[in-house]
Every structure is written in C-alpha cells, then in structure tokens.
Symmetry: C2
Subunit: 456 residues, 2 copies
C-alpha cells in the first residue's frame, strides 16, 4: 500500500520514458536494473510494454525475465501476442503463471489457443479448477457461460446476516472480487441477491431475504455476450447470476467483464465501419494485408460499377469536359451524406434506440434532412458552376443532381443498415460499401444523365 | 423480488409489443391499464419508451402519468429529451422526482440544464445535499469531481473489522451502492481501501490496514473523465477515490460511472469518424441539420479542391474520355485504403496503444502495406484497363497511379491522425476529411498527370 500519493495520483499507464529506461537496461544487459523496472509495473502496464517493443526486444525481455511473466500479464496481453508469448515461455514458467489466475481469466486465456497449448495450460491446474474451466469451455463461444466466474458466494435463502458472516469467515476460498451474496433454494436455483454493503450494515439477526435488491436479474449460460453487456449497461448491474439448463446457479458475471465485452464490441464496430477486418496494432504486414485486402477488393468492384455508369456518358463528357470536372463533387457529397446517416443508424441499432416503433419516423426524418441538405448545397454548387463555367443550365443540372443524390444518400444511409440488421447481418460490416456504391452510381447517373438530356 | 425467473431470464429491454400495448392504452385513454404497464417498467426501460414514442405521445404520456416519472427515469433519459420532459413536469412532480436520487445522478441531471431549471431542481433538495452538489458542480465539466459520488464510506486507518461493522450498523445514511471502505488519516487524506468481501470474511479483531488492496489508486478532482475511464479500464478498478486540492477525500467514482463515460466516448468516436457532430436519435430535423451541415460544407470545399485538380487536365480528358471513366477508381481506392489506415490509427491512439515508442515501426508498416496493396491492385486494374480500352499504356498509367495513391493513402492515414493528436486535436474529428482530400488530390493528379505526360 502506498504511503504517499504521487505515483497513484498523477501517473497512469506507461509513458515513453519508462519504455526508454527498459530499452536502455535491455541494451546494457543490466538484468538487475531490468528486473527492478519490470517488477514495479502493474500487470496491465507490463502487458502494454510487451506490446510496444518490437519482436526482437520482446524475445530478449522474456528470456531475461521469465519467472516474472505472471498469469495477470498473460491475460492482459492482446490476443495476437498471447500465442507468441506463450510459445516463448518455458513450460514451468507457463504453469506457474496460470496457477494463480481466477477461473474466468483462465477461460479467457485458453479459449483462443489451439489444442496442444490449451492442454499445456489445463494440465497445470488442480482437478476441481480444471473441471470448472472445462465446464465453462463447454458453453458456446462469446456466451455468458464463457464470461462467468464459475464460483459464486451462494447461501440458503433462509439464512440471516449472522449466518453469512460466520460462513464467510470460515471459508478460505472466496473469490478475489465479489459484490453480492446469492440466495439459493435447495435445488441451487438462485432466488435473489444481497449487496455486501447491506449485509455489513444490518444486525446479525436480520434475514437476508429482507435485504434483497430489485435490480436482480438472471441470464442462462447460453446468452450471447453482447446481450450480457446490454443488460449490464441498461440496468446498471454489478453482478449478474448465470444459470444452467436446469436453472441452477452456474456462476456469476461481474461488471468488469461486461466492460471488457463492451470495449471489444466498440472496437469491432469502429474497425468494421472503417472497412478493416480484425486487426491489432501488433499485427505484422501479412496479417494486416489479410484484414484489409478483401475490403479493398469489394471497393474496387463497386468503383468499377461506378465507372461503368460514367462510360455510358462518354459522348457527353467529350462534348463538355466540365462534366468530368464536376461529377466527383456530386458523388463525394452523396458519399459523405450517406456515411453520416448510416453512422447514426448503425450506432442507434447497436444501442437499440432504433426499433420498429420509431423506424417510420426516423426514415421520414432522414428523407427530409437529405432533401434540405440537397437544396442548400444545390444552391451553393449551382451558383458556383454558373460562375466557374459561365453556364446557368450547367448550374441547374448540377443542383438538381445534388438534390437527387443527397435525398438518396439519406434514405440509403438509414435503409441499408436496417435491412442488413433484419437479415441478421452486422450493419457495421457492410453498410459503408453498399451506401457509397449507391451514392456513386446515383450521383454519376443523375448528373451525367440530366446533362445529356438537357445540355446536348 | 421475483419468485420465478422467466421475466428476468429471457426479457431484457423494451420490445415492440410492450410499446404497442402502451400506445393502445394511450389511444383508448385507459389510464388504469396505462399506469399498470408503465409502473411495471424498469426506469431505464421507461426512459427508452419516452424516447421511442413521438412528441405528441410523449406529452400525453406525461400528462396521464405525472407522479410516476421518478428521478431514475429522468436520469436515464437522453440529454436531448431531458429538458423537454423537465419542462412538461409540474414543479411538484419534478421536486419529488429528484429528491430520491443519489448526489452524483443529480449532478449529471442538472449540469447541462440552464440556470432557472437548475435552480428549480436544487431548491427541492435539503441543504447538505445541495451543498455537496454545488461543490461537485464547482469542478470543471467532464472531470472526476463531476462524476464522483460526494459521499464515501471512510473510517480511521487504525480501525478494526469489528469497528467498521459496528459503525456501519449504526449509520442509516450509507450510499445505495458501495464496494470499498476507505481508510483515512486524521487530515481525511485517503491511505488505502478494503473490499467489503474482505471485511466480511475476517475476524472482528483484524486491523483494516492488514486487508488493504494493491489495486488502490487515487485521482485529483480535476482529472478529465476520459483519463478516469482509462484508469478504470486499464487497472480493472471498481472504486476510485477522488481527492481535493488539499489531498482530502472528496468522493468516490464507481465502475458504473466509468462505464457510462466509456460508452459516451465510444459514441463520440464513432459519430466523429462518420463526420457527424453530436446527434441523438431523438433530435429534430433542425438539430440534425446543425450537426451535419458544417461537415458537408467542409467536404464540399475539399471536393472542389479535387475538381480544381481535374480542371488542370481538361485537354487530356477531351482527348481521351477513358481518363474520366477511370479516374474515380484511383481516387476511391485511395480514399478507402486511407480510411482503413486512419481508423486503425485513431483507435490505437484512443486506447493508447500507438505511442512514441512504436510510432516509427507502425508508420513503416503502413508504408509497406500501402505499397503492397498498390502493387496488387495496380496489376488488377492495369490488366482490366488493357482489356477494357485496349491500351497497354493506359493500363501502365493506371497501375502506376494506383501504386502512388495507395502508398500515399497508407502514410496519410497514419500521419494525419498522429499529427492532429500531437496538436491536441481529436484525431477522430478531422482525420477523415484531411485524408480523403489527400487521396482525392493525389489520385486525380497522379493519374491525369501521368496520362498527360505519357499518352498525349
């Protein structure tokens, strides 16, 4: 425990100087100094350090500091690096590292490893813990059963505050972190929970049933983790009991796990909206190409589709080169307006704010916004085209195409994600490509089509 | 407390049928049925209901169910709707609603209201609570001081488990939710904390100082809330004590508040990357236009810049119309590759994974990825141009422009956000526009420039 505050008050996370010191100690092969720095780091910061240095430095670090990579550091590492680090650790060091982890952290650590690596870790554990972890692993990936801590503090529903205090003082295997005592019936079915604060603040004779809280909710072990995160967020929960098929208490999920899920979902949304597959900063060039190329290939196909539209109007373009100069503006404005509308829609679908109840209203509003944006920018661009190319008719054509494309952009931006969501696809994944294809095609076709019809 | 589970197990959040039932009861003017439905809703779901119905329905709902809007529902409402709902409530109902809220929720509720509305709410509170809230409001917006619950359970550092149990049983004003007992010295400076689980599981004679946890950290009340969220996330905290200028314990932030901040930051990141200002689904057309038009205006300027580049090459385009057909492909591929690279960079900056320690490596990697992407798509597009227009030279020109633009896209995608971050601007806010301007200009200039030089 710190005796004075400065460290914990002003410094959070690693800073460049710390990394610099570690690198210097590594270069000087000064193992004592190195251990001094590394041992003082919080496991989360040690994991960040391993992510920040390059591969050669990482190997050397692990070789010079093998006993100190504990399970906490392993579970803080990004998934991409975990396998690499696990392979670099001697089997004994790996075993020691895993032994002092909580079961849910072990599950998180082993679930993405291949069979031999999984076995190596599970072999290190005592039989009861191994069983608990194998039970968790038997639930579907990304489900409540994988997230939960399989040990919950559960007591008979007829107990008093005094009973639970005596019980807890007698037990020496309580979880590291827990916030509720669960009340169960004789079949181990959970009936409610009591916060530790209420247990502590009531007389020994008080019945626990009189202290249970309204916020109480339960989920089956098969519940998907995004649903779990939603329940935590929506109802401000701290603990959520998980039940098996028979309705028995199987474990408990705590808010810190839900926060991790929320963070991962957010990462996924942002990367997918940006047209990137699963990618970590520690990935190498090959991994990155694998994450990005498929998206660029899709974009190439849609760009070719837009070009085919332009090719239909090559006569118009040879006659009036100004069309080639102005057409990207129509497409670009449509792409941007469509992206705005789809970003809001994707986010609202993720937070469940956009539902069948308000859909019609939201679509109507996007149409009005698209139309109004269209009129404003039509006026601006029409005027600009008039002065730039001295042709009032060209101005009118550009303005009209702008109105059409911004209206279409607003509608596509909301309808495409909604349609994908109804088809049980992730709207974040493909909306961008669909919407910009629509706005490119409509933008080029409306502008060049109107120009051909009116100007030629 | 529920006696059987179905409700809490399978149904989370509002569903369309519930909203339909409420609407039907509203249309039938059946106040009893309406109250029956509404009273059964969790405050978070009641707030969602108010967000999902339209303005007229909302007014009627509040008129028919005024006493039942409690503080919880108010604090669950999206910010945009809060003022509207507060204005619709009779002063008495508002006062009742606010009285049973925790202080940090009151702060969250009043901080965005204008002066008269703020006064109306503060007047409803008892003097000590009002003072606590005004103290919180004296800290900067979006700081730890605003987030914290100003009441913490703090006891002298020399106390034992028995002392704290007796103290808690005697107090009747403990916070609703708390997870740690803080140990303070005689000057009220916090020295560590003990989880309630440890208090409960140790004998009465145990000294609290022997039970403190390593995870303990402290922040000053001025700490920005994104830093607070980072500290919670990085170190898996549940409670974080907040100290004032004199180092005295001023309050405590709990993980649920940090989760809310994290969620808001996510929302902000996604919307900014999508080129939308602060926008809520409940906003009206005017608010939406205000959030989106400035961005479209910026985009228009950059689109015009790209057009000016094209205009430099009008002779080439009149001579070879194929250039106008193919040029959007070069720009579009560059825009997409740049967006991929910037999305990863913006996210890595937000999670503090991209730092001065690994910057050079990441930039080099983006350059290599850009170059390799460029070569692959140059080959594809060069071949396509050859077969489409029967000109090998046009194929080479297109391929060369593609290599140049994808390399530039990769570099711009990483360097622009990093530059904005160093300039203390939010990289999510403006990177997209900058990067696509670069890729449009470079795409058009390299393709049309090379074509002019080689083909004419």
């Amino acid at each position: 425990m710190p005796e004075d505050l400065p460290d914990t008050v002003t410094e959070h996370g690693l800073d460049g100087r710390e990394i610099g010191r570690v690198r210097a100690a590594l270069a000087a092969r000064d193992d004592d100094r190195l251990s001094g720095y590394l041992d003082a780091l919080h496991p989360a910061d040690a994991a960040d350090l391993l992510e920040q240095v390059n591969t050669a430095e990482r190997e050397e670090l692990l070789a010079r500091w093998p006993g100190s990579i504990d399970g906490e550091v392993l579970s803080e590492l990004s998934e991409g690096l975990r396998e690499e680090v696990i392979d670099l650790l001697p089997p004994d060091a790996l075993r020691d590292a895993v032994r002092d982890l909580e079961s849910d952290d072990v599950v998180d650590l082993v679930e993405d490893l291949d069979e031999p690596r999984q076995e190596a870790i599970l072999d290190a554990l005592a039989a009861p813990e191994r069983m608990a972890i194998e039970r968790s692993l038997s639930y579907p990936e990304e489900s409540a059963g994988r997230l939960m801590q399989p040990v919950a503090v559960a007591v008979p529903e007829h107990w008093t505050v005094g009973d639970v205090i005596d019980y807890m003082r007698a037990r020496d295997d309580l979880p590291e972190q827990f916030y509720h005592v669960f009340l169960v019936d004789p079949r181990m079915s959970p009936k409610g929970y009591v916060t530790l604060g209420r247990v502590l603040s009531h007389a020994r004779s008080t019945h626990l049933m009189a202290l249970t809280e309204d916020s109480y909710r339960v989920v089956p072990a098969e519940t998907p983790e995004d649903e779990v995160a939603y329940v935590f967020n929506q109802y401000h929960l701290i603990s959520l009991p998980v039940v098996d098929d028979a309705g028995r208490l199987a474990g408990v999920i705590t808010i810190d796990d839900a926060m991790t899920v929320l963070d991962e979902e957010h990462e996924e949304d942002i990367l997918r909206l940006g047209g990137v597959g699963e990618e970590e900063l520690s990935d190498n060039v090959i991994d990155i190409l694998r994450a990005r190329m498929p998206w660029l290939m899709v974009n190439l196909l849609t760009a070719i589709a837009a070009s085919l539209v332009i090719a239909q109007f090559d006569d118009a373009i040879s006659a009036i080169v100004a069309l080639a100069v102005l057409m990207p503006i129509v497409a670009s404005m449509g792409g941007n307006a469509g992206t705005q509308s789809l970003t809001v829609a994707v986010r609202a679908l993720a937070t469940r704010d956009l539902t069948s109840s308000n859909m019609a209203r939201v679509v109507r509003r996007e149409a009005i916004v698209g139309l109004l944006n269209g009129v404003v920018f039509a006026a601006v661009m029409g005027t600009l085209a008039l002065f730039w190319f001295g042709s009032p008719v060209l101005g009118w054509v550009l303005g009209a195409a702008m109105v059409v494309n911004l209206l279409v952009a607003g509608l596509a931006g909301i309808l495409v994600p909604v349609f994908l969501d109804r088809a049980k696809l992730d709207p974040a994944l493909a909306s961008g490509t669909f919407v910009t294809t629509v706005t490119d095609v409509v933008g080029f076709a409306s502008f060049l089509g109107l120009a051909t019809w009116i100007l030629l």
